[in-house]
């Protein structure tokens, strides 16, 4: 019996250890190592902080970094504001029979590749796009307007892309909210606003936190949407990383940027967990 147990442990542990060591731990140690290496013109390598120094010296780098962080927070908040009523509708207002169907409708767009979704928005928004076409036809505009390639379009795209990861945890947390709590609050004299902020939001906090963490992380690390829908001058931090790796071929600088982004992402996730008194394991569930 114990023999079997040990054998089972070994059987399950080996592939998991291989996966986590070779593909998660080692790569990130190497990322950290590379970020401290400076390759001189002669091809020598030395240990330096210069990759990090240049991040702080060049305003374009750290400004992009700050901009990316702030915009990610804005996108997270916007996604929450849009998703909360939708989740509430699905769980508490819609008839139980239609709930499954509505949920399917909500999930459907997110099974399609992000690229297709972004492409759809590009067709809608660009100067020769569908929205412009209709606005011109209706006489609201006399000149086509470029609605793509600006921050608003980028935020729209990011909110759209992140929506699912907010709706799903919110729906599951609101499903567990007993209707009678809302009825009781109403019966005790509460109005709509009080019910939302005293009953619904406090109950939904775990869902809000896990949704916000995932949305924030995905937005921060998104490359596709800012690149295709945002302005043309690489003002999302992942674009800076891409440029260092692919365009400038300066992998050490890119590694430093990557590590900074990783720090920011884990830092905010950690902060979110601390503030709401949750753990990563709990949020996942």
């Amino acid at each position: 019996m114990t023999q079997h147990r040990k054998w089972g442990l070994f059987f399950f542990l080996t592939p998991v250890l291989l996966w986590l060591t070779l593909l998660i731990v080692l790569p990130h140690i190497d990322l950290l190592r590379m970020s401290f290496i400076l390759e001189t013109d002669t091809g020598e390598t030395e240990w330096r902080l210069s990759n990090y120094a240049s991040f702080f010296k060049e305003p374009i780098y750290w400004l992009t970094f700050v901009r990316t962080a702030i915009y990610s927070i804005i996108v997270t908040l916007l996604t929450l504001v849009v998703a909360l009523p939708v989740s509430f509708f699905i769980t508490k207002v819609a008839r139980p029979g239609t709930r499954g169907f509505l949920m399917l409708l909500i999930l459907l767009p997110f099974w399609v590749s992000e690229l297709v979704r972004v492409y759809g928005w590009m067709i809608l928004l660009r100067e020769s796009g569908v929205i412009n076409h209709f606005l011109l036809k209706l006489g609201i505009l006399d000149q086509p307007v470029e609605m793509l390639y600006n921050d608003a379009a980028m935020i729209l795209g990011l909110v759209y892309t992140s929506m699912l990861f907010m709706v799903v945890p919110l729906v599951s947390v609101l499903e567990s909210l007993d209707d009678s709590l809302i009825e009781a609050a109403y019966d005790l004299g509460a109005d709509m606003g009080t019910i939302v902020f005293k009953i619904i939001v406090p109950h939904a906090t775990p869902g809000i936190v896990s949704g916000a963490i995932v949305v924030f992380m995905l937005t921060l690390g998104n490359y596709l949407t800012p690149n295709l829908m945002g302005g043309k001058n690489s003002l999302w931090f992942t674009e800076q990383i891409y440029n260092q790796f692919i365009a400038s071929f300066n992998w050490n600088q890119g590694a430093a940027f990557g590590f900074l982004l990783l720090l920011l992402s884990s830092g905010i996730v950690w902060l979110g967990l601390k503030l709401s008194g949750q753990t990563l394991g709990k949020v996942v569930r």
Binding site: S180, A184, A185, G189
Partner: protein, 370 residues
Amino acid sequence: MADDMQIDLGVEKVTKKFKDFTAVKAVSFEVEQGRFFSILGPSGCGKTTLLRMIAGLAEPDNGRITIRGLNMAGIPPNKRPANLVFQHLALFPMMNVADNIAFGLQRRGEKKATVFKKVSAILERVDLPGFEKKKIHELSGGQKQRVAIARCLVLEPAVLLLDEPLGALDLKLREQMKVELKKLQAKVGTTFVYITHDQSEALVMSDQVAVMNKGHFEQLDTPKNLYNRPATPFVARFVGDNNIWSGHIRDRDNNTCRFETPDGNVFHISGDQPWRNGAAVDLFLRPEAMIIQPDPAHTGLNRFEAHIRSLLFDGANSRIIATPKNSDRELLVALPQNRQHDDLCPGDIVEIGWDKSSGICFATETETSP
């Protein structure tokens, strides 16, 4: 006295339909101030719907609900002087005890100091002094119960509505809470409207009980009358246990008539019941109305001999199953635990007697109800 009694709750011909199902059919009643009023019925009889309409959580399709004389039509629940204790209590888990109780007061915009005072006063009242800072999940079942009631009582509602709040408790605690709730109601003097499917809860606590079935009231009466003088077969079946014996009315005259079963048993029943000769009726006879080995001196009893089939020992609620001679009809007969019948064994033949006023007849029902 009854004349100057204020009516706290008036319900007039209230009807509620859900699609093609009528949950509540033209129900009317009034509850006087300070009364403990219960609505007793099986699940699905419409009692919860009725209660929710009084609370304002549902709108009646027809009829009128008044609280202290004010028409409640169109008044949302948060503006009604009626508060509801929910079936599963619906205490807010994200708040502590004090915040739960203060919730309604804060909605009214009462001052912090008053709220604080009222909260501690009401906690004192429900015997939970100093519980302000406790979390909901730290409370026992009975304590949660009292917090839920305190949360409503602190608002001093005209009517307190209770939706089977004891249902979730275990048996022992439920027995205890029944008594406590009755005492609390007497202490605060608030009008209670209580719904339950548990007859014992309704009988023990209430001044008046309405028995509800399929959307209408079968009988509205005091607990004692409900038990002793059920108005309908449904009430007779639902409140307490009954032996039901089908048969016919014979030899009707002014004072008495006789009830004859198909297997030849003949009993006298009280003549104030409106049956004609030959009418097909069901005789309802409570187990505790039957006396085992009655005193021979006691006249005016219906007597018959019966075989004891088995003894069902259950403490104060012990019974025997017996069949009358020349019959297969099984009867439940109460077996008082006063040592008098300790020597009874299955197979024994005993004499059983019952007073003719204890047997109540209803016309034989064609459909069988639960």
